[in-house]
Homo-oligomer: 187 residues x 2
């Protein structure tokens, strides 16, 4: 998915603003297993996935939560770095070799402050992420792990082939062993 499609997906931008915007991006590649965002750092860049898949997760004590998976067109971002310029709670690792579009938060802030079309793009971007976050929250509060797993299968059927069971389980908020048991029961 190229950068034009990625930006347009969020919000249309007029041609001259879009040109200015796209000039700030750089294409980069990283290998599988690369830890691209670290929770102990204020991250200076955000990324969009051209090709590949990533996992956002958070560590506390000895346990780990998978917050999200990102596929082509999705964003790799430390929210607390991007929004508050603070150390985040997210780590993001690449689950495959990835091709990414990179832009610095400094460039973004500058574009937001000077171009109303891009400012509204930034607003739409946050709003769409917010909708996703709330839907995710509601579906995790409702129903059993079995229901959530079946819903995930329906919504992201390809994900199960690309990602290990343990990570899916951590995304669903259960242990890998529980998920294996659930799979045995629904077939």
């Amino acid at each position: 998915m190229n950068i034009y499609q990625i930006l347009d997906k969020t919000h249309p931008i007029n041609a001259s603003s879009k040109h200015k915007f796209i000039e700030c991006f750089e294409e980069v590649s990283f290998p599988k297993n690369h830890l691209i965002i670290r929770s102990d750092k204020v991250e200076k860049d955000i990324f969009f996935i051209k090709k590949g898949i990533a996992r956002t997760f958070s560590n506390f004590d000895d346990s780990e939560v998978t917050i999200a998976f990102g596929e082509e067109g999705d964003t790799i971002i430390s929210l607390k770095s991007y929004i508050l310029n603070q150390k985040g709670y997210e780590n993001i690792e690449l689950l495959e070799d990835c091709e990414l579009y990179k832009i610095s938060t400094a460039s973004l802030q500058n574009l937001f402050a000077t171009d109303i079309d891009i400012a509204n793009w930034g607003r739409k971007f946050a709003e769409q992420e917010l909708i996703k976050a709330e839907q995710r929250f509601i579906s995790n509060q409702l129903g059993t792990a079995t229901e959530r797993y079946i819903e995930l299968l329906k919504k992201h059927p390809t994900l199960i082939q690309r990602v290990s069971l343990g990570l899916i389980a951590s995304y669903l908020g259960i242990t890998q062993v529980s998920l294996s048991r659930i799979r045995a029961n629904i077939t």
Copy 2:
């Protein structure tokens, strides 16, 4: 909390834009138990709480999830109406007699399209809600209901006095009976 404080809390706006912005608000009052946002409607307005407390919840089948409580300075909003102009999944009821500031989404869209300062205010607003949503999600995935209850007590000590146990339980994702048992165990 007045409308100046509420708007500034999110993002500073220059004086003339702020004046234009505030002119679009209207003060309204509603009694306790009023259902101000309904999930079966596209809502045309959003509200900020001057005085009082509200609860956002979602119904599916026969169960109900409390998504959030809103106190003074917080927003009463159907995200899907505001962002996508679609019917939402949220109901919002007032838990006390409330004084509110009201603005139409149409006015907001108009302000966003024409004033870069207000567009960036809208961006910051969505971003801050996003941070809250993600923190909430992470803390609900981690640890036991007991830990989440203790965390809530620390973060919002006044809430427990203003809101019934059943609603707190539904916020924590457990039943009222379970929460009562938890309270009996931690004292």
